[in-house]
Symmetry: C2
Subunit: 381 residues, 2 copies
Amino acid sequence: MQMSPPGINLMEVRHVNKHSVVRALHEQGAMTKQEISRTLNLSLATVVTLIKELTEEGIVEQGELLESTGGRKPVVYQIVGNAKLSLGVALTGHHIRIALVNWKHEVIEKYREKITYSNSETYWRHVYQEVMKVLKKERITSRNFVGLNFVIDGNIIPDAGYEDIIPVGIFDGLDVSVIKDMYLCPVYFCNSVKAAAYSNVGKLSSRNTCVYIQFDRTVGGAVIANGTFWGLSNRTGEFGHMYFGENNKKCQCGNYGCLQTYCSSDVIREESGMELEDFFREIEQGNKKLMSVWNSYKKNVIQAVYNLRVIFDINVMIGGEMAPYLKRWEEELKEILRMLDIYQEQKDYLQFSNGGEFDGAIGAALMVLQKEDEDDIEFIK
Amino acid sequence: MQMSPPGINLMEVRHVNKHSVVRALHEQGAMTKQEISRTLNLSLATVVTLIKELTEEGIVEQGELLESTGGRKPVVYQIVGNAKLSLGVALTGHHIRIALVNWKHEVIEKYREKITYSNSETYWRHVYQEVMKVLKKERITSRNFVGLNFVIDGNIIPDAGYEDIIPVGIFDGLDVSVIKDMYLCPVYFCNSVKAAAYSNVGKLSSRNTCVYIQFDRTVGGAVIANGTFWGLSNRTGEFGHMYFGENNKKCQCGNYGCLQTYCSSDVIREESGMELEDFFREIEQGNKKLMSVWNSYKKNVIQAVYNLRVIFDINVMIGGEMAPYLKRWEEELKEILRMLDIYQEQKDYLQFSNGGEFDGAIGAALMVLQKEDEDDIEFIK
């Protein structure tokens, strides 16, 4: 049942307004006091008081002076990026990747190390030391550090939020509570596909709205809107297990004909007997036999993207290890998608994720910042 | 870009609170003044004043007396159902169906007439007279009548809202502005699938959250959440045109392999050469040849429902003319869906729409009420 908005006590109005100022500066960027007053429909006197308080609290600072048309230069105010920082730590079988991100969604630091995963004290102690190294180097304190988010393979628990998953694959059996106890800050564990999707939420002032589909060894996804996950369930977006036809191939989920059995990057590995890099070298050299493997794979990717378009009618973003390869055929993909369009609107809706190796770590760090901002709102409510 | 919530002037607090009272009574049903006070965190004095005003305005009324544990019986307040009424008018090739619905989502009146559609003055004048007849009979006035919503086949225009469509099929070429000018009230035209889906929003106090998929001559759908459509686009839910396999059947959209070419009710008509009623009589009598048509159709419906489940992870509701037939196999469908579940959670998520012939008209009327409530909120904002 939907909750009615609670009535507002006059005492709370000031808190709400203070939060509105922070949120406006956070989302719309630097503004003058006059602009804040107009945007939020607050008196200038109120804005002056709130800005003074927020500056003293280290949440807002004076920004660069604007060009003036004459007379005094107008002073703008902005949020202090380093007022809030978070860390994403992506763990795979052979790598640790760490990203430090600030409240303005700026990536402050990226760090990678080759190390084989094992669920051992030695491994987790090593991860701890690497995390502390980054925090110390950047002089992060408990005052401005909002939390740490590990990226692993895991299943999302319904209604439990994104930060609480059941480890699977190589992480099967990991007791996350033991790891959480090692740290004196909030620690979360998130799903690697969701984290990668979340790295595409976009800049605060121009947030992405898209369906994200990952073409990697597994096929998964998420829906991103206005800087956060979108969906009526935390699991919205398990695209890899849609039924896609009668290929009689068994999926890791146990069913037959899942999209993953058509569009996993392993389909190319299996059908060519090659690693992706070698496969695409051959394709570029015009290997006809491999070309038919590629054409058939590409056709399935196009149909999968098209399905998400008719279901959601928003932009579709391709991510995962296949993204950079598929991007080479971007124009061809877009042309076919335009031809398929039921509304014949000739709009391009296909996008590509940066697909960088730090996507998961960056997305995880952003998720912690988002959670913090939401908790702030809850508190004020 | 997401808008920041505007700052709140003290003058507006009273309006917001008044609206909160109406909304609480609308969504949660009758309450005592004390309950309103607790629910909305407002002083009892404030609630007393607001209820007095709302009663004078004819929006709220005293409800039935509650059972008391002794002493004075507590008085509850509720919204006046007939404070707002709307009409849905579903037009098909051979019928007009009209439903009158009130603010409490109670269906006050249903009316059906057999008449062949033609885009002629005679036809539209006749529709006008039927509408006026219903309004007069129920003594509806311009004071409490919020509008009229026609249900026809039409394409949704992006970003234009649900009430503005491009007529297609037998309605191709219809100039809706001419029809709108005939009436002295707000008049809308909505898509028949969306209207049918909307009839499933559920009672105010326990609203449905589900994906609705219509298996009819066409296959379409919508996502319903908390009493309204859900989606980042008005077109969210064009399920009929998902690619579903290589059957080499051309869909009316021009593409091949669309879900509609697998799951339209016409598949059964074509493959059996029978009308649905006759087909299912034969099935019940154990006709083996037709049974294989039905089994293959049923399998595709199951996979379609399953796809929506993995994409959205919420309940899936089947509607359209196939719904009552599919419901006869409800237990079998649910059992197979449980077997397919990737999370192996053994939860039933399949639901059936009432599928009544007035679904479209009722849904359309509800859409007008919803729009009115939203406009109210906009006004207060």
